[in-house]
């Protein structure tokens, strides 16, 4: 055979699409699809959640319960908080929840968290920042509001399904799944701003019903807002309505509903003993 050397021009085996362009098209295409699924799930879950039996939510809460129910008896501080909660119960819509309180020994943290199943976790650092029973009642009533609105399920349900999709698509140990779960845990398990505002309004109403007035409703937030400040950039990603906005919203609600302000009840001294948790 005679050989004719000829140079091959061009390259049939590669594509001319610019890799960056392909990257963005793929990325936004997939993210777009996920967003659509997320939104649809949100709608579907909103419809379903009201019909979800309490038993199922309690099963979710068992994980948390096992960690915190090491002892069956309550400390005096916990008993006092339980009393405040029990006093609220007649003013709340009927619920099958059995509310319990558990104090976590963390003096540096000032927070209270509502956990699926009816458990309210309170960090011991909280007691340094409050002076009156009304403030404490407001905080507890706010957590009760989350339970009354079944806020956990709306967030958890959607997050769980998306996490499941991600695990099936990318694998459980893929970096994308880890990243997604981090985001879902921080955004979805915390309540959205709307849910927080609704819980605040619920708490005001409850406070008014039990005490006849709402003095002290904003005291804790006023005190706290000076302690915690976030750079403006991060405010966007925080799901808690920032304290100044929260205070403004609460004051507006007080004005709109014509709640009264009367004398506050001082805090039970056992909260200040420094020996509040197990």
């Amino acid at each position: 055979m005679k050989f004719t050397p000829k140079e091959i021009q061009g390259n049939v085996n590669i594509s001319t699409t610019h890799p960056l362009k392909e990257f963005f098209i793929l990325l936004f295409g997939i993210l777009g699809a996920l967003l659509v699924i997320y939104l649809i799930l949100g709608l579907v879950l909103d419809i379903l959640v009201d019909r979800m039996p309490l038993g199922l939510e309690n099963k979710l809460g068992i994980l948390f319960k096992q960690r915190f129910e090491s002892s069956k008896s309550l400390t005096p501080a916990e008993k006092e908080m339980q009393r405040i909660i029990d006093d609220f119960l007649p003013y709340m819509p009927a619920t099958k929840y059995q509310f319990r309180v558990y104090i976590i020994n963390q003096d540096k943290v000032s927070n209270a968290v509502a956990v699926p199943g009816g458990l309210i976790l309170v960090y011991s650092g909280l007691f340094k920042d409050i002076q009156t029973e009304n403030e404490l009642a407001m905080i507890l009533a706010h957590e009760l509001g989350h339970f009354a609105h079944r806020d956990h399920l709306r967030g958890l349900g959607r997050g769980l399904v998306l996490a499941a999709i991600s695990i099936v698509t990318f694998g459980a140990d893929s970096a994308i799944t880890q990243f997604l779960m981090d985001i879902l845990i921080t955004t979805d398990l915390r309540f959205s701003r709307k849910q927080e505002a609704a819980a605040d309004k619920f708490a005001l109403e409850l406070l008014n019903k039990k005490y006849g007035h709402v003095a002290g409703a904003t005291d804790y937030f006023e005190h706290i807002k000076d302690k915690k400040t976030l750079p403006r950039f991060f405010k966007f990603f925080s799901t808690h309505p920032l304290y100044p906005e929260r205070i403004t919203m609460l004051n507006e609600e007080i004005k709109n509903k014509c709640y009264q302000i009367k004398e506050k009840i001082p805090l039970n001294p056992i909260f200040k003993t420094g020996d509040v948790s197990h």
């Binding site: 055979m1 005679k2 050989f3 004719t4 050397p5 000829k6 091959i8 021009q9 061009g10 049939v12 085996n13 099936v168 698509t169």
Partner: protein, 104 residues
């Protein structure tokens, strides 16, 4: 473009050759096909979706090789061979190569 798997094109004479030409393509399955295949794994049998996928990929590789040969001025490719390699999980490279010749 004539392609054969043997050393010659039957009935024609090879005038000149231009060396190797190759065509290749890398294809991936999509999650839907994966899901269906996963279900099919339970029952067994032919995974028609994958068969079609690889068929298309092979055809594309062949077309690329033919394009390269045409560019050289060849009108036949002899001794065509295929090779498949799994590059990563869920994606395979299909390569085909042969000698580009001009027959008359």
């Amino acid at each position: 473009m004539i392609t054969t798997n043997i050393d010659s094109v039957p009935g024609k004479r090879i005038a000149e050759h231009f060396g190797i030409v190759q065509g290749s393509t890398v294809r991936a399955r999509h999650v839907g096909a994966d899901f269906v295949a996963g279900l099919k794994n339970v029952v067994g049998g032919e995974l028609k979706g994958y068969t079609l996928l690889l068929e298309r990929a092979r055809k594309e590789a062949l077309e690329r090789m033919i394009a390269q040969a045409q560019q050289l001025g060849a009108n036949a490719i002899i001794n065509v061979r295929f090779a498949t390699a799994a590059i990563t999980q869920g994606a395979a490279e299909l390569m085909t190569y042969g000698t580009a010749v001009r027959v008359e």
